[in-house]
């Protein structure tokens, strides 16, 4: 026998409500607090010291300071624009296994350069600075500060679901609103918006236009390409022969940085990371931006080496980016459209002599332009195999 179901929409959204409740609970600050408490004591320092250090760092102490709070230069959370100063977490990690004297020395007697200028007139009690060190040590161990939860699409999606449920219940059972068109409109609106969200998100799925993650080193393309005019191919030197443009090996950075140890913006802190990587023989773990799916086989050599396409066409105005971001959405439509519009170097490149008939037509018929797509660049097995 087969059971027949007529499920009310309310039943359909019941699990969603449960899910929502769970979701909120897991992300609540209550839980976050308790985690922090577990790491309360660092080297015998109390939770109080850490708190005090945090307040000092953030400039929250009641007495007035002559200088800015630490946090105003040393970010606790990632920001959209590049902050050249080392972030709190980076400092914390660097000084975690060093003693207070080293830390004190770095803050109070920074020698020369940018850091020295800014830190010049610091008058900080040693007691205060000790609490800052404790706070930073704790920070290094607990990891970066979790960002506040923002109302994301899921909540909106679920809220719309609740609206739909309510509208249907109203239409079928409650019937309290006189004008039937109101719940009908609400239903249609909510349902329509949900559908739109699904479609939008579905299309965006796996695409990450504008993706600009924090990198382990505050490397700025703007400084290197824009201001210093280094050619892209100096660092990404396999771009004309290889599938991959190549992320420069650390020793390539050292070609220049063996001499240049201090940046105009960043001071010594960031460049020191490169030197350290070379000395410790630990490669830098960059975060990968352009991430094609595994079933796509893309070759830089064909596009840059053969077709002579500018880097900027796909990667945007890299010379103006402090934080590197993904410029194009790297969708298949984007590839295919470009193939349809882009002319190949049909007469210049000897390879295309294979296309005998087309060359003949070039002469007599009105075949003026040969695009990549004309030669089969949009075949499935050009990129998927």
């Amino acid at each position: 026998m087969k059971l027949k179901f007529s499920v009310s929409p309310a039943f359909g959204y019941l699990p969603m409500a449960v899910f929502l409740a769970l979701f909120l609970f897991v992300n609540s600050p209550v839980l976050a607090e308790s985690v922090e408490n577990q790491h309360g004591a660092v080297d015998g320092h109390s939770h109080r010291d850490i708190k005090r250090g945090e307040r000092f760092f953030k400039g929250l102490l009641p007495h007035k300071l002559e200088h800015q709070a630490c946090v105003s230069c040393h970010n606790l959370t990632p920001t959209d624009t590049l902050n050249w100063n080392p972030s709190a977490i980076a400092i914390a990690e660097k000084y975690l296994d060093k003693d207070f004297a080293a830390f004190n020395n770095a803050v109070m007697n920074p020698g020369v350069g940018m850091l020295a200028q800014v830190h010049k007139d610091f008058k900080i009690e040693e007691e205060d600075l000790k609490t800052v060190k404790v706070y930073l040590d704790n920070l290094a161990m607990t990891g970066p500060v979790p960002q506040n939860m923002t109302i994301n699409n899921l909540l909106l999606f679920l809220f719309l679901g609740l609206l739909i449920t309510w509208a249907l219940l109203e239409l079928i059972f409650f019937r309290k609103i006189r004008y039937r068109f109101i719940p009908v409109l609400i239903f249609l609106g909510a349902f329509g918006y949900q559908a739109k969200m699904l479609v939008d998100e579905g299309i965006k799925l796996g695409r990450s236009e504008g993706y600009a993650p924090d990198q382990p080193i505050k490397f700025s393309h703007k400084v290197h390409v824009g201001e210093n005019g280094i050619d892209c191919k100096y660092c990404h030197h396999t771009v004309e022969q290889g599938k991959s443009a190549g992320i420069p090996a650390t020793n390539l950075c050292m070609n220049c940085h063996v001499l240049i140890r201090e940046g105009t913006n960043s001071g010594k802190f960031e460049i020191a990371k490169i030197v350290e990587a070379v000395e410790k023989e630990e490669p830098v773990e960059w975060v990968r931006l352009h991430n094609l799916p595994d079933h796509v086989f893309f070759s830089h050599a064909i596009h840059v080496g053969v077709a002579k396409i500018d880097c900027q066409q796909c990667h945007g105005d890299v010379e103006e980016m402090d934080i590197m971001e993904q410029h194009a959405d790297l969708s298949m439509g984007w590839c295919v459209n470009c193939h349809r519009d882009t002319e190949v170097q049909f007469t210049e490149n000897g390879y295309y002599e294979t296309f005998v008939k087309m060359h003949e037509e070039m002469g007599i018929e009105d075949l003026k332009k040969v695009t990549a797509a004309d030669l089969g660049a949009n075949d499935c097995m050009r990129c998927h195999y």
């Binding site: 059971l3 699990p15 998100e201 390879y351 089969g376 097995m381």
Partner: protein, 981 residues
């Protein structure tokens, strides 16, 4: 027209078989359906499951984030490496008598593919299935991870100290220690061993081959004073007579022999003569299947026949006759033909009986073949083991006379007939050391296991033929804590410094370098040799024949036995069983039986009928139960069973697959005899054993698929046997426009004359295209994933049929039936004539499979990667290192098939575009083509009128599979031409 049949069932009643197949398939499908559904009354739970899924999907869509991936560049980039671009290194494969010069493809530090080295005069760019699969042995989970002592981890230093002390004390007491090794052909290694024996005079080197050529070696010692095997030049002979020697499959140097043999049987470029091949054998071997004339004989009859042939030739040449057993076959015609081709014929025997080999030498001498078609200039050195030496060792070992054993590359506990006794004896040794790279039965018993690195991880040199040297170089950092055996020996001699690499270099500087004058700088000489992988030194050996022992050979021969005889043979894939843990080899169907994942008893057709046996019945042979396979062409009164199976300690893939037959090898006159007389065979009533038979897969329904003719017909009419081609061409009318290709039009031609059916292409394709292993059960379910299969058709008398081999892969039809039925356009046609397959678009309707008349499309019924149900190489990180990063790993539910190695096409096109030149003919090679030992496959551009493929497509022998359907395949076949008398 000749009728072809693929199995006996089909011969008897093709229609019934078709119905049976259809039912079988339907059953499989319904089974799958049931499995996924579980019980029937669960639609409510299904509903909730679906609901849960949609909820999860919605939440994922609304808030999912891509995982953060790292991009970690080199610290210091090596100059020659471009990320994502492969580098190639010349190296050499040598194992258990198999030698092959190879080129290793390395992608980002990982070796992923083996190709043949075209500079080698021995393997000549060819490989065998085993060489192709050897890349997977590198990533075998059954490899030892470091030095071990009595089952526990130890350090090299501790082991070295303890072993050196033990060796010293044994040397002081002058107690014998044996270094038991498989055939050694490395000159540097031999120099190390010589030093080692000098330091420890109580050590004796014994070379042991599990499948021995001892009979040949000792016969050659008598006839020529050489412990080696002469150079057989099949390309310089018109008549080849083989007595049980499977020289195209497993005998001595099959890749080299296949290259020569097929070159003498090609009919292209104006060549109009072919060698004629006679084969006397018991089991249907790969070589026998290619023979023009095949005589099924019992193994004990061989001696009589060889003697008769000798006497017939001796009579004509005025030499004295030798008395001995009678011949079962009349060989007078054969003798006449051989006499007509003196100096241009070869007689070989695979027997391990010295007497037979002496007679064979006598025949070749009488025919004047030495110095012409058989040369002693650069004899083969790949088999060195003398059975007498091994026997002496085993006797001493059992008697407790041997106190220490160093086992290197050998596994006598498994593959010696007295394995059990050896096992007990090893347990009682004072010192036992194994250098095994991976798990094996002998290593398991030894006190010390000091693993040696894989050949792809280490330096080595080889001398497979006198004066023919080759180098092996590491292509990857050692994956595990292993050390070269040569270094271990040096350490025990007190040398703590020298590496094996240094040693080889020094050896070459002192020997090979001084033997030449072309290059004066050693570094240049070394780098050239290393880059090429091979180095030749001209040899001018004068070897004289003596008829020593010949006259007595007749009396030593056996007379034909009456009882059932069991033939023991090596298979193409598994060989002596050393790499039984390699799933690619286990799944490669046997070229003749088309069975994988088992060994079985091949029985003659008449025997099966008499005893009411069918495939998968069970018989006992001297008490051992074996599944039955009815083998057409199996000689009456014989049963054939493969060696190399039944490993008990090989690893998760190879353990307990099939039965171990090595205990059935007997000793006769001090030599191991690879057949057993008077076997006690009984039928086990009512019992069956499932075999992974892929024989009746993809039946071609008796249409003119494999076409053939005979040489005399062909010389009269080049289109002989291929009359159908013209006829069907003339009938072609189409509503569709004729497809036009503006640039390239890729095509492939396969010469059925050159294809021996060895299966190298299947493994090469598997390695190149990430084809997954699916296991015995799924092979039985007709789901084997190989993109290229070799179909085998029988014709004529089931007792001694003729065989045709035909490789079939996607035909890339220009009017492809699969393309227009796909509802999601996942398989369109490319601008270059390729039938494309977009995995990410495929939704798995399988319409294309149903509509493909060639049955070449494969469906992923399961996820074969990272799935505990399919616990082969793709289920662990180590095994997945072999994957080719240029080819997508297919997931469950999609269809896949041959892509004509589109990744290679793309790569070469990119190279040409970067250089601004057109693609040269022959520049692009598909994986199956590149290492084919028969050069049977040609790939190229049909739009280029000068290309080899265009010329072959215009050849009168060319035809297409099922061309009457007007599918316009881009793959052509050249009619097989036999050379029957």
């Amino acid at each position: 027209m000749k009728t072809y049949w693929r199995s006996l069932e089909e011969l008897e009643d093709p229609k019934a078989l078709r119905i049976k197949e259809a039912r079988e398939e339907a059953k499989q499908k319904s089974l799958l359906y049931k499995e996924s559904k579980g019980s029937e009354n669960n639609s409510r739970r299904d509903f909730l499951r679906t609901l849960g899924f949609s909820l999860a999907a919605a939440s994922i869509v609304a808030s999912c984030k891509k995982p953060v991936e790292k991009a970690i560049p080199y610290l210091v980039k090596p100059e020659e490496i471009i990320p994502g671009q492969a580098s190639y290194y010349a190296s050499s494969y040598f194992d258990a008598g198999d030698y092959c010069s190879v080129v290793v493809k390395v992608r980002d530090g990982r070796p992923i593919k083996i190709e043949g080295n075209e500079l080698s005069p021995i393997s000549q760019q060819g490989t065998s299935a085993r060489v192709q699969a050897s890349i997977l042995n590198l990533y075998d989970g059954a490899r030892y991870k470091g030095p071990r002592f009595k089952g526990k981890k130890t350090s090299w230093d501790d082991a070295d100290k303890a072993i050196a002390t033990a060796l010293k004390s044994l040397a002081d007491k002058n107690e014998p220690v044996v270094l038991l090794a498989s055939s050694l052909i490395s000159p540097s290694t031999k120099s190390v061993i010589d030093q080692f024996i000098e330091a420890y005079p109580n050590v004796k080197l014994v070379q042991y081959d599990s499948v021995s050529a001892s009979g040949m070696l000792s016969a050659n010692l008598k006839s020529f004073g050489q412990r080696a095997i002469p150079d057989y030049r099949f390309d310089q002979s018109n008549v080849v007579v083989s007595f049980g020697a499977d020289f195209l499959g497993t005998w001595l140097s099959p890749v080299e022999y296949t290259k020569h043999y097929t070159s003498k049987r090609k009919l292209d470029e104006g060549q109009r003569d072919m060698l004629r091949h006679y084969q006397f054998e018991s089991a249907m071997s790969l070589t026998g299947s290619n023979a023009d004339v095949r005589f099924p004989i019992k193994p004990s009859e061989e001696g009589g026949i060889v003697l008769a042939l000798y006497n017939a030739i001796a009579k004509a040449k005025g030499a004295s006759a030798i008395s001995g057993p009678k011949s079962a076959v009349d060989v007078s015609d054969l003798a006449e033909e051989l006499l007509a081709n003196q100096g241009q014929s070869i007689v070989v025997s695979g027997s391990n009986d010295e007497h037979i080999q002496l007679l064979v030498n006598g025949i070749n001498q009488l025919l004047g073949n030495y110095g012409k078609s058989i040369s002693w200039n650069s004899p083969l050195l790949t088999k060195q083991g003398l059975d007498a030496e091994m026997n002496e060792f085993v006797t001493d070992l059992k008697a407790g006379k041997v106190k220490g054993l160093l086992a290197w590359g050998v596994n006598p506990v498994y593959d010696h007939p007295e394995g059990m006794a050896i096992e007990t004896a090893i347990r009682n040794l004072e010192l036992s050391v194994s250098f095994a790279e991976r798990k094996d039965e002998t290593a398991n018993l030894c006190q010390y296991i000091l693993p040696e690195p894989n050949y792809l991880e280490s330096w080595n040199d080889h001398e497979p033929k006198l004066g023919s040297y080759s180098l092996a170089q590491p292509t990857i950092q050692k994956l595990f804590d292993s050390r070269n055996v040569q270094e271990s020996l040096l350490r025990w001699m007190g040398d703590a410094e020298t590496t094996y690499a240094d040693l080889i270099k020094k050896y070459w500087e002192a020997h090979q370098f001084t033997g030449q004058t072309a290059l004066t700088d050693f570094r240049l000489f070394w780098n050239t040799a290393l880059q090429k992988g091979v180095y030749e030194q001209q040899q001018n050996a004068e070897v004289a024949y003596s008829d020593h022992g010949l006259s007595a050979a007749g009396t030593g021969l056996k007379s034909a036995g009456k009882g059932t005889e069991v033939v023991l043979y090596e298979t193409i894939a598994i060989g002596n069983g050393k790499y039984a843990n390699n799933p690619w080899l286990q799944e490669l169907p046997d070229p003749m039986a088309k069975i994988s994942w088992d060994n079985y008893a091949s029985v003659p057709v008449a025997y099966a009928e008499e005893n009411g046996l069918s495939n998968e019945s069970v018989i006992t042979v001297n008490g051992l139960e074996l599944p039955v396979f009815i083998q057409p062409g199996q000689a009456a009164g014989t049963i054939a069973v493969a060696l190399g199976y039944g490993r008990s300690y090989a690893g998760k893939v190879g353990d307990e697959v099939g039965k171990n037959m090595f205990s059935y090898v007997s000793h006769v006159n001090g030599a191991r005899q690879y057949y057993m007389e008077n076997a006690d065979v009984a039928v086990v009533e009512g019992k069956t054993f499932p075999l992974a038979l892929s024989q009746t897969h993809h039946s071609m329904e008796g249409r003119p698929i494999a076409r053939e003719t005979n040489l005399d017909e062909y010389l009269k009419n080049p289109a002989a046997g291929n009359e159908w081609h013209k006829k069907s061409e003339s009938h072609h009318v189409s509503l569709y426009e004729k497809p036009e290709f503006k640039g390239h039009h890729w095509g492939m031609a396969i010469d059925l004359n050159s294809c021996t059916g060895c299966g190298n292409c299947a493994i090469s394709c598997q390695a190149e295209n990430n084809v997954q292993v699916i296991g015995k059960e799924q092979v039985r379910n007709r789901r084997i994933m190989h993109w290229i299969r070799v179909d085998r058709y029988y014709s004529g008398d089931p007792a001694n049929p003729e065989v045709s081999n035909q490789p079939v892969m996607c035909q890339h039809c220009d009017n492809a039936p699969c393309e227009n039925v796909c509802p999601v356009a996942a398989t369109p046609h490319s601008e270059e004539g390729l039938n494309q397959m977009a995995y990410n678009r495929c939704v798995g309707t399988k319409y294309c499979i149903n509509n493909c008349p060639y049955r070449v499309r494969r469906f992923n019924w399961f996820r074969y990667v990272n799935n505990d149900q399919f616990d082969y190489n793709a289920n662990n990180d180590l095994g997945r290192m072999v994957l080719n990063p240029d080819v997508t790993v297919r997931s469950r539910g999609v269809v896949e098939k041959c892509s004509m190695c589109v990744q290679r096409i793309q790569e070469k096109k990119q190279e040409a575009k970067l250089a601004g030149r057109m693609i040269e003919d022959g520049e692009i090679k598909t994986a199956c083509q590149q290492s084919c030992p028969g050069n049977a496959i040609v790939f190229g551009d049909l739009n280029n009128p000068e290309s080899k493929i265009s010329k072959l497509f215009k050849d009168e022998r060319n035809y297409h599979l099922l061309e009457e359907l007007h599918t316009l395949p881009s793959v052509g076949y050249l009619t097989k031409v036999r050379n029957k008398a």
